[in-house]
Symmetry: C2
Subunit: 108 residues, 2 copies
């Protein structure tokens, strides 16, 4: 499964959005995403596995909880593939400026 396929699923994209904000326990993600999409804990656990297996997230046990943290490496890869299209539109130049200005709050 290619990184783009991983990002193809709306549940997984939502999970990544949540993890982009902060680290979260599996159960917290289940609480949010489960409600939003109306799917079971099991389904979400399976999506978390896909994210793990493809390097989008890392886990750390904290007692009985599994704390998920984003790993941007595969996203960088995707971003680099996209690179070849960036000269096609002024929109991309605008984006470049955005990125350069970036430097928002950063979490470890």
């Amino acid at each position: 499964m290619h990184a783009f396929d991983v990002l193809g699923d709306p549940v997984r994209r939502r999970i990544l959005e949540i993890l982009a904000e902060d680290r979260h326990a599996s159960g917290e993600i289940v609480a949010i995403v489960g409600q939003e999409f109306g799917i079971t804990q099991s389904a979400i656990s399976q999506h978390l596995k896909v994210l793990r297996d493809h390097g989008f997230a890392t886990v750390q046990a904290e007692g009985p909880r599994r704390i998920y943290k984003i790993d941007p490496a595969p996203i960088v890869e995707v971003d680099q593939w996209l690179e070849r299209f960036r000269f096609w539109e002024p929109k991309f130049e605008a984006l470049a400026v955005e990125v350069k200005r970036g430097q928002r709050k950063r979490r470890k």
Copy 2:
């Protein structure tokens, strides 16, 4: 089908790579991609339809030929979704520089 799903298929990614270089007739794409992936003209035509239907490419009839041209709009959209992850890694800052330096040859 989400834009990320469109990009999830290796054949479609290859077609987009080709179209990023220049406009091409369907048959030219078939010649390249068909050989590389060992799939039929029909299969490729179906991939081209997906690209059309999701706004990644536009077609223009030229006699019996269909000339395909890339349309970056959905790629920009994807790129914007990715935006929220860009502050996570120095790699992204490096990319930003890359993009800013960009300004390669442009085709219409």
